[in-house]
């Protein structure tokens, strides 16, 4: 990775419906840009290797690891983070299922889980527990043993019905 440079580049991204323009170092990670540039600290960083999935966000409608993208790669794209899902006053359906099923403990992996599940529900059949487990296997959780997360997704998939 190149060292510090004064050559800042302009980037414009739309995050949770709001468009932001900033001048940033080209090497800045998207995860750092969201967290420290835009103050959206709901996206968490667990490994910066793309392994743990805590930093999962939605880019152009599909889930992506924000630690594996440079912020400049998001130029012109639509991003959704956990802050776009729901609020403490009005949880999204996925967030509500997590609370109902106790799908979180320390909460650190949770934003990434929720964003990954939004993608799974939109694009994957999730007809069996094996399929749900497979779908969740890219996101690490150290607290729950996944069992209650699987229960939450099972309920969400049942509610959604078969993919059309």
């Amino acid at each position: 990775m190149s060292e510090h440079t004064d050559d800042l580049v302009a980037v414009t991204v739309t995050v949770n419906g709001m468009t932001h323009s900033r001048r940033i170092e080209p090497r800045m990670l998207l995860s750092d840009f969201l967290r420290h540039g835009l103050g959206l600290t709901g996206t968490h960083v667990g490994c910066e290797h793309g392994v743990c999935g805590a930093c999962t966000i939605s880019v152009g409608g599909r889930s992506a690891r924000s630690c594996l993208m440079l912020a400049v790669m998001a130029e012109g794209l639509e991003i959704e983070t956990i802050e776009g899902q729901g609020t403490p006053e009005a949880l999204s359906r996925i967030q509500k299922a997590f609370q109902d099923h106790h799908g979180l403990q320390c909460g650190f992996c949770t934003p990434g889980m929720v964003m990954a599940i939004a993608d799974l529900l939109a694009h994957h059949p999730l007809e069996t527990d094996d399929q749900i487990r497979e779908g969740l296997s890219g996101n690490l959780c150290r607290c729950t043993g996944y069992i209650n997360i699987i229960a939450a997704v099972r309920e969400l998939a049942r509610e959604r019905g078969p993919l059309t």
Binding site: C47, E83, Q95, L104, T110, L136, G145
Partner: protein, 797 residues
Amino acid sequence: MNKPDYSDVVMRPKLVGKRIKRTEDLRLLTGTGEYVDDVQAAGMVHVAIRRSDRPHARIIAVDAHAAFDIPGVIGVYDMTDFEGECEPAVPTSRMKDYYATPTWPLARGKVRYVGEPVVAVVAESRYAAEDALDHIVIDYEPLPFAIRQVDAVKDDAPLLHEEAGTNVIVRREFVRGDVEEVFRTAPHKVGGTFRMTRKCPSPMENRSYMAQWDKRNRALTLYSASNIPGVVRDVLSGCLGLSSHQLRVIAPDVGGSFGGKGSLYSEEMLVCLLARKLQRPVKYVADRLEDLAAMSQAFDELIEAELAFDDEGRFLGLRADVIGDVGAFSIYPWTAALETVQVISFLPGPYKTEAYHGRIRGVLTPKPPTGPYRGVGRPSSTLAMERLVDMAARKIGMDPAEIRRRNLVRREDFPYRTAPGIIWDQSAFLECLEGACAALDYPALLDRRDAMRAEGRWVGLGFASYAELTGIGSRISVAPGMPINTGTETANISIDATGVVTAAFGVASHGQGLETTLAQIIADELGCAMADIIVLHGDSSLVPMSTGTYASRSAVLGGGAATVTSRGLKAKVLRMAALLMEQQTGDLDLHDSTVTSRASNQSLTIKEIAKAVYNQMGRIPRDQREDLVFQETYDPYLGTACSSTHLCMLEVDPGTFGVRILDYVVSEDCGRIINPMIVDGQVHGAVAQGIGAALLEEVIHDGEGQSVAASLADYLLPVATDIPDIAIVHIEAELPNNVGGFRGMGEGGTIGAPAAIANAISDALAPLGVEVNKLPATPDRLFALVRAARQDKPPAE
């Protein structure tokens, strides 16, 4: 017999025992929680740390000249820059033959493991600070070292801490009965070498610290991803020469710990020193490589153990010689005794074993220090004991459930004093075993196993029964004379002028949901609505003395403190209500935030009472008025047993040597359950960590002292496809002798699962004569065992 008539009793709904949804969840689910790295401050600077790449070397010189060429770099510091500004943290203990290694903010004179912090760079951004690391040149003089504990323990081994005069800094021994004689005359003996290799606790949030110097008050605030903020406050104020009201340690939302954030770290001292030196907010956030390299690690004992028993399968004697690899330092505040001594303290487990000889030597090696990790010592001791139990059963052709049934401490034996001196108060040891067998229909399970085996499949089942001491009071210390008191917990509960309840504790919830469970207890005991209660925790300034949340203590001690303090406060509320209503307190009830009088039709809400006490001058006679505040400390003294049996069936793939768990049940007695949803979540998570320890996770240091695990792609944590459904049986057979009747239960799953899995794999591979005594049972390790068994020679390792 007539049914009692309860028709005149008003049944009040209780919150304790109910699946109450967590109040923490709203912020954590929506990205509005606040973890340390989310904390911002104007003028904040960032630290990156150059860590040792040598296992043992003298620091000759540090040349940081070129680092200052990086734009944004503010300063570069090694230990010489802090001399005279701090004292080390020393984990003292009265233990005989113990040496307490000092912990400094950066390596002082020498480095003693790969990953030890040596030089700190402070810069305007983390990016700049990391750039500068590459421009620092450290001149080392390599020193000899012994990386394996069997070598480090030798008399002529190179010394890591010369002042200690030895690498063996902890020695303990427990003896009961004439063990030699028992083993000389016993009809049967089994034995082996057992080992849980090193683990990294690996919470999803890495260690994170931010220190802020307040010029106005000449005081520091440290935001720390810690589960022991009170301990950190007490020790750091001493190290930094501050009075304790000049240091406040706040653990905001903490992204898991599992013990890894439960000790004092050099980096916490470092950010405090830098914040004071620079008079600016200073943040340091470890990356995953740093936490894999330098977070406190787990286990790593080499256990030689032997069990003597008779033809009936009754245990006659047990002996063990253990070498614990404690890493390069004795960790603050727990000491190097924490992990090591527990192995021999708990080795006899839940069984009656009259003759016992356990010996441990804790030896320094050039690796990160071992410290608390979910289960502490007992995953290792349970692996050894439960393997011995299964080996014994196999030797005399007895069913593994039956041999456990014959040896478990029974109801009539409680309280039972184990050979190392642990008191089992009373717990459902036997009922847990029977519960596990019933849940999976044990006879049918055996038939299923045998049917699959008949098809040539490698299928086996395994038990693990264990007991742990939880909620330990002031009678028992991890290390005698250690610097902290783990045996008490204080609650301060107040009702303010608007009638809402603020409950402050010394615990530090980091995923356990204590804001919810403690509020459940207070709501029941005080008689107020849960929505009117806020639980404060994770802040050293809340109560006069606090430690935090660890060692399965918070339900027992925090719950106990919540109970006794609520009761004291309730008495005050009733006294004030009695004055206001002109009634006797004995005629008053407090439920649903309302005091009602049985002798009249009067009622007053807590809000009305608070208004009268605080805001309405003269309503209560001046000499009888009391603030609605109560503080009480709870000490359970001995602690209470939590017990469990795990039973699982699994299959080893003869092609890949991967293990697939088919069935899993945990049958446990954790006393009175506060919130069954949370208890089940703790069991799931702890079993998952046990499965990780049994099958996947291993910190490996090569012969050069380098850790092979650099990322979570090397150090494998369980993913969703690794964890089976887990059935849970709750047994509340006997309530323990403490306030509230709660037992601690957060760690048990990690204690039982490795042993159950090792037993099940050994059962699956029994036709080949393979015994699995070292975990994790990775595919390559199983392959080597099977190949060696087929060639009838011992495996290479």
